[in-house]
Structures are given as structure tokens and as C-alpha cells.
Amino acid sequence: MTAAALSALLGHWRRHPVQLAMLLAGLALATALWSGVQALNAEARAAYDRAGALLGEAELSRLEAPAGLIDPADYIALRRAGWRVSPIVEGRADLGATRVTLLGIDPLTAPAGPAATDLPEADPAAFLVPPGLGFAAPETIREVGEAPFPLIAAPEVPVGQVLVDIAIAQAHLGLGGQISRLTILPGQPRFVPPLAELVPHLQRVDPGEETDLAALTDSFHLNLTAFGLLSFAVGLFIVHAAVGLAFEQRRPVFRTLRALGLPLRRLMALLAAEMLLFGLLAGSAGLVLGYLVAGALLPDVAATLRGLYGAPVPGALAFRPEWAAAGLAMAMAGVLVAGGQSLAQLARLPILAPAQPRAWARASGRAMRLQGAGAVALALVALTLTFRGEGLVAGFVLLAALLLSAALAVPLVLAALLSLGERLARGPVAHWFWADSRQNLPRLSLALMALMLALAANIGVGTMVSSFRATFIGWLDQRLAAELYVTARTEAEGEELRAFLEPRSDAILPVWYAEATVAGRPARIYGTKDHATFRDHWPLIAEGPNPWDRLAAGEGVMINEQLARSADLWPGDAVVLPGAGRFDVAGVYSDYGNPNAQVMLGIDAFLAAFPRAPRLSHAVRMDPDEVPAMMAQLQDRLGLPATMMSDQAQAKAVSLQIFERTFVVTRALNILTLSVAALALFASLVTLSGMRMAQLAPLWALGLTRARLAALDLGRGMVLAALTAVLALPVGLALAQVLLAVINVQAFGWRLPLQLFPGDWLTLGFWALLAALAACALPALKLARSAPADLIRVFVQER
């Protein structure tokens, strides 16, 4: 009985291969986008873990200074007291043609991680004695190019990091003898004084806590995950639509099978097994596709993570069973969620339930009322979170509530608009057109909801990126006002450089900084010279009275927006800078593209507080026409490599390039999501076209030509797509506002003004209608070319 029933059920797919293809394609695409994003996240997280494991720190406790850096005297005190600790220095530095993370270790005390055991053999003296020796991944060595010390290829070292002796790192980072952290080694002597007595100002951090990098990049990965989830949801709409329509089409088969004695439970089990089989097939295909998507996107994601956070993520993808298993599980869960509603409906359906279209629409009418209530409830959640929500997770819940509420409202609004069209229609065909569109709306509503979500996401993310871009370009013009940027390799070279530039430029503005912890956050404190460059150009978003005078006098500091928002520090508040004292916040400036806190301190106060800060980088104000000649002179006279200099245009180009790369992934996922939505519409229309024959044949018999019916069907699809696109616009703008004012603030610490780009909307509308045209064209063409015999079959099959 089971085999016979299964054969009858599967017969549907043999007769409707396109519908089966759409179902599998929808699920495969949904899984692909989701698992692709998960593959990217898994690769990045594995890289963070590798970075933690390099020095064996993942299993060891460490000591950190809440103020930022550990004084060497603390280290000496601990060693003298018998504590077995190993010092580590870590910081970002320009090395050759790129920026890397310098990791300085003491080879004599370093714990037994891969750094101590697996690195290639090298001369220990060369490692310890200046200029030193560095170990780095081959990819990093290629990016660095010419370095001030030899680099040895070591694949164990995470990409973007360079492992050197601690003294070499301290020199390059300008830290003097200061230490980033102390690793507490295993096998401590039994009777050592407690840490609380020896170094009460240091904080012990036990292993198992999230690594700094993982914490720092959490928001980036959350953003990616949210987009992956959105794509998955859009893909699931296709599956839901295809499964729902297949259930409806097979209702006579269900009726017959049950009438012939197949128990309901067996029928449901067979249908569930069928769906799981589809989930397995499409999920596997989706994993392969997802791997390809992730492989294509990883170089840009890696570049973004390295550029923004200094995270050591390689540009090549490795297969990881965890994301593959998770992707497959999502596919199975997705197909069950999509089919669950139909199964539940089947369980409640009387054996001989009628399958009339209007009855179906009326039943859907009840569902629509429920949907409307859901939309209102979710809108209220979104509204509440807008005013009361805090934190990134609340931001994403707001985003999800907003999108889901809008998606649920789409069929209701469309039904109202189609009713209006029906009321205003003149002529029988126009009247039928609107009434018929309204009747078929429930069958298309899932696809239209998917289209609305994809379009709204496109408008929202597009508006956010374009607003960001416009603001960023203006900000770059303000921020990169100097004509030339030069970095010396050593302190001596820095001094020589300043002496050389002094008589040949209008002003030399130091770009000197010290790492510290400000308001509990890792921060960089810059010494700032009082100059018109800052007074005229610096992009302040909030300021107290005479901010620049107070900065120059050492009475106040400027802080970046990230610090202001995360610590809620604004002009008039006070902030403590470790080693420098307490200062009033004189102003807040925008600082896009930097996830960390930043403080500007007057140069005199800075030098007094951080006398050992490296004095290597400088911004030079001069006649722009003389920049090329000056760069040539610096190369010839001081032997400064070209990679240590950049003019304003170069600096802007590099910043813009980093910016553009940051959004490559977003744009790619955007386009993929829209493609999935177009496929959803296509799948629904193709499936529907098979069922439409019975509705259209009588009209043909009554005197409407096939070409006219096809044109009307095409028009119906286009009208619905156009109305959906119009509805997506306000939703997209609301989404952009949430991204700019909530998510960005929570994730990155900056808020941007919303700007409108109607040209982009028209372009997107054009593409959406083109996608809808492509989706509607095939069923319409099929109808226009259908043989009279196909239409007559509708009347003949009645008997």
C-alpha cells in the first residue's frame, strides 16, 4: 500500500518537473546563501582561534593592565617573586607596503605553543639582535614586500601577523619597555606571593573567555549572519510557495488515496519523508553552491576584516564540517517549516473537502486576517524597540520585526489596492482583470512577500551604503586635508625627517599616538598640534565652547564618535586618560571606518604624559604642486622608501578602496537575494500557470483571444510586481534609517545622516520589473502559444 501510495504521490513531480526544479532550486539557493555566510564566519573564527593558539595563550591565564600597558617594573617584580610569566607585546604597525599586527615574544620564556615548537629553524641571534627577524605567513610576506628586517615564511603564523622578538616589536611600536600582557605559564612554584599583593593594579583574565578579536569582530559577523538569514528566509518563501501549491494541486490525489483506505497518518508520514528527501538533495546542492559563494566572497571579507580590525583572516577557504552540517540542518528544518503548514492543513481537512478556487481564497481570507493581526503585533514590537530597545541584538530584533511586519502586510495592502482597481474598472475585461488578480493573490502572496523583502533590503542597504559613501567622501576631504603623509622607520630617521621638512613645508603635523584604555575601552591617544588644518577642517559633530583653544591649552580633549556613543561622553563631561590625567571633553568628531576609541590631546600634554610614544608619522602641509618633487627628494636624500609616503590623493584612494571593499560582500548578497526573489516569483507563476488553464479556458471560449489573455496575465504579474516595488520603498527607507541610526551605532559606533537617492530607486525598480517580466514572460508565452486542444481539454476533462 505504501509503495503504491508513494508512486501516486511522486507521480505529481514526474508530471510537473519544472515545479520540482523550482522547489529544489529555491531550497538549494536558500541553503547556499546561508551556508556561504556561515562558511565565511567559520573561517574567520577559526583564524581568530589560530591566532590565540599561536602562543599557546588559549589555555593559559594572562595579566592585563586596565590602563592599557604593563610597566616593565611589574614584570620584573613578578619574576623576582618567583612567578613564571612571559611578556607579550602586540600592536598594529605599518610594515613595508601594508599594515600588520606585530606580535613580540620573549623566546626564552614563551609558552610552548606552535610559536615555540613548529616555526622554521632560524638563527636565534638574528631573531634577538636588531634589526631582528620576523616570522609571517607567505601571504603576509607578499603583501609587506620590502620590510626593515628579514621575514621568514611560517604558515603557522596567522595571515596579517608578524612574529618578532619583544624588543624589536617594542621599538617598532614605540612602546619603550612597556608590555601588552603577561602570560601566566603552567607549573608555578608552590609558595609565591599572591598576585593581588604584588600587582594589585593588574587584572587576571582566565582562558576560555572570548578572544579580543572575536569580541571586536562580533558585530561584523552578526551583520553577515543577519544578511544570510534574510537570504535564507527569502529562499524559504519559494519553498513554502512551491510546497503549498503542490499540496493544493495534489488534493484530489490525497482525497482518492484516503478514500481508498490509506490512513491519514501514513499519508502525512509519506509526505514528510518526501519533503525530507528534497531537503537532503537540495541541501547538499546548496552546500556546494554555498562553498563556491563563500570562496568567491572570502578575499573581500578577509580584506575588510584585516583593514578594519587587523583580524588575521586568510583569503582562502577551507572545508569545515561544522558549517556543512549546520547548513544541511537548516535546509532540513527549512523544508519542514515550509511544508509544516500544508501538513497541518491536510491533517484537519475532511476527506472529501472541495477544492474550489473561491473557497480556497476565502480560507486564505481567514489566514489573511490572522496575518494582518501578526503584522500589527510585529509593527508594535518594532515601534516599542525604536524607543526602548538597546544593544545590537535589540537592533536586529527591531529590523526583523519591521521587515516581517511589512512582509505580512503586503498581501493585505495589495488586496485593498486590487479591490480599489476593481471598483474603478470600466468594462468587463478590466473588471475581470482586477477581480481575478485579487482571487489569485493568495497563491502569489508568498512570492510577492519575498520580492518585497528583497527589494526593501536592496533599497535599505543601498541607501545606507550610498549615504555612508557620500558622508565618507565628504569626511575624507575634511580629515585628509594634508598634502603629504610621511612615516619614518626609526626615531632617528623621524628626527632627520622633521629637520629636513621644517624649512621646506608650511607645517609639519605630528601623527603620534599612544595605546591606552580609556573609559574601559582600548583606545589610541593622539598628540595634536594646534593648527588651522584642524580648526578649519576637522569634522566635529558636537562641541563645547572654544574646543580648539581648550585642546591647545591642554584643558580639554576631543574624542571620536565611537567613544562618545559607547561611553556616553559628550562635551561638558570629563574623561580620564591613564598617565595624563582628567580632561573635559571639548568636542566629538566623526571617525568612520575605525571600530576603536580615539582621543585627541594637545601635543604638549601628550608629550608630557607619553614621552616614549613613537614619533614616526607626520602629516605635511605644503604646496600641492610640489608634493611629487618633495617625495622624490625624501627618497634621494633620506633614503625613505616610497611605501612610507603617500600624497593626499593616494591616501584618499586607499581609504576609499577599503570602504568599497567593506561593502562588496553586502552588495553581492543583495544581488543574490534579489535573484532568489525573482526566482520565487518565477516559480510561483510557472506553478500557477498550470492551474490557470481551467480559469482562462472559459474566457477564451467566451471570445477572448489567447494573445489577449496572455497579455492580461503578463500585465497582472507586472502590476503586482510594480505595486510590490512601490510598497518596498517606504519599508526600504525605514530599514535604511534603522541601519544608519541603530545598527551602525551599536555595531560600529557611528551614526550617519539618511540621504535619499531617487535615481537608485528608479534603477532598482527597473531591474525589479525586468526580473518580474522575465518571471511572467514564460508562463504568458506558454499561454499565448497553447494549442486550442489544450484549452478544450478543460471542458473535455469535466466529464
Binding site: P354, Q356, P357, R358, A359, G427, P428, V429, H431, W432, A435, D436, R438, Q439, Q695, A697, P698, L699, W700, A701, L702, G703, L704, T705, R706, A707, R708, P788, A789, L791, I792, F795, V796, E798, R799
Partner: protein, 236 residues
């Protein structure tokens, strides 16, 4: 061959015939080779006249009706509606003929599910440009549908739906009504009532009626009868 009597002369037929078929032949291709469904069927139907088309299942009745309606082409022979050979019409002209001259009534009613009774009744008349609200109202009254105008097809019984289908057909003032087993889905009493209406309405409107039916009893109520057997006209 049974013809409606008395047989008119050729010139009279040309002048009076609402529907005429001449030696119609229709073949279908099957897995076992071509099958001839109609083998030289000829008949003439004058305005106001009713003709019952009977025969066993598969005898070619519905195919003949579809060819007469221009829904399907004949392989040989001709169909003339009010003297026009429908084989020579373009698809648009054929559609116009179905809108304005022919009226179709199906066994399954084929009402438009998205439109209410009122809109269904007036649909074809509006398509044909013959919309007359007073006539629709009178038809609705006569067909017992006046109280059901705001209902949708699935809210009606089979008999009510078939009355709407007949009303839709007659509202367009067709010259020829082609009805394919219009009472096949109805019980005997309802079927009789529906047929009464159809015959009476056609007679009043002067429309010719070609009625496909299995029922000898219903066929006997028409002016003439055409019996098909294996694609040929045969004695009833």
C-alpha cells in the same frame, strides 16, 4: 440521416441558416494511429430552431460542438455561421464570433469564480457590446436569480449555477446557442426546469439551439434530433 423537417431548398438554407455544417471530418492522432472522430457530418439549423445532438460516449458529439463554436478546426468540410465559413476567420475574428454571435453553455457551467452573479450574467453581453441592464434584470428575474445577484458562483447550487450560465449566454443575444450537456450535472427535476428555460428563451429570442445530450427524453423535446454513431449521422 435525420434532419429537421421539412428539408428546405439550397437557396432557402443559404438565406435562413443560423448554423450549417457540410461534410465535417475530424481526425485525432493516437498511439495506435489516426482515429476519425467525425466522418462527413452535415446538418442545418435555422433561427429559433432547436436540434438535439445525441450519441454514445466517444461518438464525437462534443467534438462536433467544439468545431461549430470555432474552438477546434475541422480537418475537412465546413462550418457556416450565418453564412460565414468560420475556417476562414482569423483568431481575432473567430473570437469576435464567439463573443457576439455564438453562446456557449457547458456541463460544468464554467462561470468566472472571481465575479459575482450580477457580473457573470452581464459578462458576455458587455464583451459583445450588447449590454442592456434592463435585459439583464429581466433575465435574472425570469431565471430566478434576482435574489442571488451578489453571490459568488461557489455559493450557488448546481441548478442555480447553470441558470447563471444560461443567463450569461442569452444576455449577449446570440444567434446560435451551443449547449454541451447543460443538464448533465443536475437532477432530473432541476434539469427539466433548466431545459425548459433554455428552450423557451431561445425560442423567444429567435436563437438556434444545438443541444448535446445523452437523454432521449430531453432530446425528444427539441425540434429535431441528430444521432451520431462512430462519427457518422445514424438513425436514432
Amino acid at each position: 440521416m435525420t434532419r429537421p423537417s421539412p428539408p428546405p431548398t439550397g437557396s432557402e438554407v443559404a438565406a435562413r441558416a443560423a448554423l450549417e455544417t457540410r461534410d465535417l471530418v475530424k481526425r485525432f492522432r493516437t498511439g495506435e494511429g489516426p482515429v476519425e472522430v467525425l466522418r462527413g457530418v452535415s446538418f442545418t439549423l435555422t433561427p429559433g430552431q432547436s436540434l438535439a445532438l445525441t450519441g454514445e460516449s466517444g461518438s464525437g458529439k462534443s467534438t462536433l460542438l467544439h468545431i461549430c463554436a470555432g474552438l477546434e478546426p475541422a480537418d475537412d468540410g465546413a462550418v457556416l455561421v450565418q453564412g460565414h465559413d468560420i475556417a476562414r476567420l482569423s483568431e481575432a475574428e473567430s473570437a469576435a464570433l464567439r463573443r457576439g454571435t455564438l453562446g456557449l453553455v457547458f456541463q460544468q457551467f464554467n462561470l468566472i469564480p472571481s465575479l459575482d452573479v450580477d457580473r457573470n450574467l452581464s459578462f458576455q453581453a458587455r464583451l459583445a457590446g450588447h449590454h442592456d441592464p434592463a435585459r439583464i434584470a429581466a433575465l435574472a428575474e425570469r431565471l430566478g436569480l434576482a435574489a442571488l445577484l451578489n453571490r459568488y458562483p461557489e455559493e450557488l447550487s448546481g441548478g442555480q449555477q447553470q441558470r447563471v450560465a444560461i443567463g450569461r449566454c442569452l444576455a449577449a443575444r446570440p444567434a446560435v446557442v451551443l449547449a454541451d450537456e447543460p443538464t448533465g450535472n443536475l437532477d432530473e427535476a432541476t434539469g427539466d426546469a433548466v431545459l425548459d428555460l433554455l428552450l423557451e428563451a431561445c425560442r423567444d429570442a429567435g436563437a438556434a439551439l444545438l443541444l448535446v445530450t445523452h437523454s432521449q427524453r430531453l432530446a425528444a423535446r427539441c425540434d429535431g434530433r441528430l444521432h451520431l454513431q462512430s462519427g457518422r449521422v445514424a438513425p436514432a
